[in-house]
Amino acid sequence: MTVTTPHPAATEVPKSSGTRLVDRVFRMRELAILLVFLVMIALTQAGNSEFLSEQGIKDLLLNATILVLVATGQSLVVLTRNVDLSVGSTLGISAFAAGLYLHGGGNPAVAILLAVLLGIGFGLLNGLLVSLGQVPALVVTLGTLYIIRGIDSIWVGSRQITAADLPGGFVDFGSGGLSAVPWLAMIAAVVLVGTAYYLKHFGSGRELYALGSNPEAARLAGIPVRKRILLAYTFCGALAGLAGALYLARFGNVDSGTGNGYELTVVSAVVVGGVVFTGGSGSVYGAALGALLLTSINSVLPALGVSSVWVLAINGVLLILAIAVDRIVALRVADALKKRNARHA
């Protein structure tokens, strides 16, 4: 029979390295996406020097703005282990409402407020249905996606808001900015940073994570589950509304089809950004990076002169590549972490 002898303890690893590693794993996920993004931009710039001109940068930022906003809101909901598929519809209907108001010669600030309020309204509706009814969010928000879209179509009919109907200042605001940084991008950045700060440093923000991580435990810990879910949905709706108003400013054109099918883009951005669909993990920065990545792919390919026929396929492949790279990096780091962190008491 084998006689085992004690060996000197396996390689000692200073305890603190574990801590930093944990942090790094989470940051790593965002870094991976950032890396993919930067490589892509660099390659494009190499192929087309116009790409990063002032106008080019401005376009990149402008393109991302609206998706960043909606993805930020969506990640809050996804963090709580829910989902809001109705954001595209909400965006469409609030954009039209804001446009209709401005058509009558209103104040742009009030129009934006109106869009946000409408978004909050639909967010509340979703939140109430999901949290009070305790029913699967996927079904409910797929339902409200159809309902809001239908109401929008009936209300709007074949009317449309065009740039000519809007105050000139509002439309200029949609495409203007400080040199390469558009106003809209600044708004999105402020919202993004504010949300991220809130999630990290405020009790109710942390509770959203807790809630998504383990709903049953959250209840036992006395977290007001319903209120928090309601909060997440309301916020998501508000941002979708805001995004609607900005959409109007940027494109100057809204009809009953605005925002149709947007939910899939938003969900992709959030998922690419590393926000986990089973809740509790991920960050809004990740989601924003995901949004930036997705919209930039659509700019990169035309800028490189890739025929539009190829765009869709390349888009899909890049999307998968981005998730895969992110995943592999995360796995590697987690593996290193696990092996080093194995506790030998």
């Binding site: 084998t2 440093h201 959250a218 006395g222 509790g280 092996k339 506790r343 008491a345």
Partner: protein
């Protein structure tokens, strides 16, 4: 206000004639209980007696169907766990309730983090407070580490730390020690004693009777949801307590018969999984029960997982009946006659949303088949057979397992694996959370299996169990096998010495 006339102090928390039913199951019937400051109160009873249900009634998780809850002698209603917490009641539930994605520090202070100006969380203070708690419990867990990936024992420790952090007037603990080894238990008891001296009321549940006698003053026994007695422990013997719980005398606890060990059934050679365990070699023969002891986190579970194929090993080999097992393939291990009763019954052992019948049936998908289709009759009779053999207490075999009490869930896991008729059986903490009566039954079963020629590897943190059952004891320390002690020489001292790395056997 009703105050007991004959007693001096007012109970901080009390139940009066509380009943609670789940559908047709009457989990509590007219139960009363009083918790006094400065006293550790034990709650004892068989699996499914209603202990956890009673605790949930105290914690505001369940609302009693009838009866009253008294707080400082005054009737109170808890609308949810939050209310109980606000009333100064801290609870450790039987199953850990952690947020896997959050750090240990956040898990402990969720909802109560120290704040800075404007209500912002003070992350540094949270970390420091967590580190202090860990020091108090004498464990070395990084506050920043995410809770996912913690072993059951570590999870339990985090739960304890969380409960302690409340500085509560009432501390309720539902089997906090089930996954812990002696040293952590000793630490915990040290802390509990301090709390008692500071005037807290403590309610303690454990199936390890010696612990009850060590730390508690009074005991309330439950049987089938009804209170049998509430009395001081002084002057009682373990047998007295068991009789109240079970309602009859029990047989001897560790009845391992001597079986002549046969051929080598399981042979593990130089098995290594980087960073987790290194160079582990041992053999288990037919008819033999080999104990695997060690401190929490020594790597025993990891070895079992690798042998069964859940995790891949980096080097070494595993043979069953002389035939090599594939790395990382539980299905082939199973087909070769290996069974693993995992330590985490809720995550690994059971599909919580499935019925008892189907959970047990899950390991028999290859056998209860006729012409490629499920043979439901065979599946049911197989499941029923084993549920009865292991005395699982259930209403209907088609009920989902999450309606079962913790101990009964454990029995279902055992049933599920014993039903495969394994040649080699690895059991990881097989009796965690199982009551004394059933424990004896499980031990008798394991003994019988060994007598029938099954080779058994038993991982347990319950040292008396190992000493009572095992023919040989292997001891692990920091990922290595440090000793192999034959039954005749195995004592608490020799095993602990090897487990803490103080000496080789």
């Amino acid at each position: 206000m009703t105050q007991p006339a004959d007693k001096g102090p007012v109970p901080v928390l009390a139940l009066r004639g509380v009943s609670k039913s789940f559908g047709a199951v009457r989990a509590l019937r007219d139960v009363s209980l009083e918790l006094f400051p400065g006293e550790v109160h034990a709650l004892a009873g068989e699996n499914g007696a209603g202990k956890s249900t009673l605790i949930k009634a105290l914690a505001g998780v369940h609302r009693p169907d009838s009866g009253q809850l008294l707080l400082d002698g005054a009737p109170a209603v808890f609308h949810g766990p939050g209310d109980a917490r606000d009333a100064g009641i801290a609870v450790i539930y039987q199953e850990p309730t952690l947020f896997p994605d959050l750090s240990i520090a956040e898990n402990i202070f969720m909802g109560r983090q120290p704040r800075r100006a404007l209500g912002r969380i003070d992350h540094r203070a949270t970390r420091a407070a967590t580190a202090a708690l860990m020091a108090r419990l004498g464990v070395d867990l990084d506050p920043e580490r995410p809770a996912s990936g913690l072993s059951i024992a570590d999870q339990q420790i985090v739960e304890i730390a969380k409960a302690l952090s409340f500085d509560a007037r009432v501390l309720i603990m539902d089997e906090p020690t089930a996954a812990l080894t002696g040293s952590e238990v000793a630490r915990l008891f040290g802390v509990v004693r301090t709390l008692r001296e500071q005037g807290a009321a403590v309610l303690f549940i454990s199936h390890r009777l010696e612990e009850i006698f060590e730390i508690c003053e009074r005991v309330t026994t439950l049987r089938d949801g009804a209170r049998i007695a509430s009395e001081p422990l002084a002057g009682m013997t373990e047998d007295d307590l068991v009789r109240r719980m079970v309602g009859r005398e029990l047989d001897e606890l560790y009845p391992k018969q001597d079986v002549k060990a046969g051929q080598v059934a399981l042979s593990v050679r130089r098995l290594t999984r980087e960073g987790v365990f290194t160079d582990v070699s041992f053999e288990v023969r037919r008819g033999e029960i080999v104990g695997l002891a060690g401190l929490v986190g020594a790597g025993r579970t990891e070895v079992a997982r690798a042998v069964f194929g859940i995790d891949r090993w980096d080097a070494g080999e595993v043979e069953l009946d002389g035939r090599g097992l594939t790395n990382g393939a539980p299905s082939t291990a199973m087909a070769a006659g290996l069974a693993l009763v995992p330590e985490d019954r809720r995550a690994q052992g059971l599909v919580m949303d499935m019925s008892i019948e189907r959970n047990i049936g899950l390991t028999g998908l290859r056998t209860t088949v006729r012409a490629g289709l499920m043979d439901r009759g065979a599946e049911r009779s197989r499941s029923l057979d084993w549920a009865v053999k292991l005395q699982v207490k259930y209403a209907r075999i088609a009920d989902t397992v999450n309606t079962l009490s913790g101990g009964n869930q454990q029995k279902v896991v055992l049933a599920k694996w014993l039903a495969t008729g394994p040649k080699v059986l690895i059991v990881d903490e097989p009796t965690r959370g199982i009551d004394v009566g059933t424990k004896a039954e499980v031990h008798r079963l394991l003994g019988e299996l060994a007598a029938d020629g099954v080779a058994i590897l038993m991982i347990s943190s319950d040292l008396p169990e190992i000493l009572g059952m095992a023919d040989r004891v292997l001891v692990m320390h920091e990922g290595r096998l440090t000793a192999e002690i034959p039954r005749s020489e195995a004592t608490e001292e020799s095993v602990m010495a090897a487990a803490t790395g103080r000496a080789a056997a």
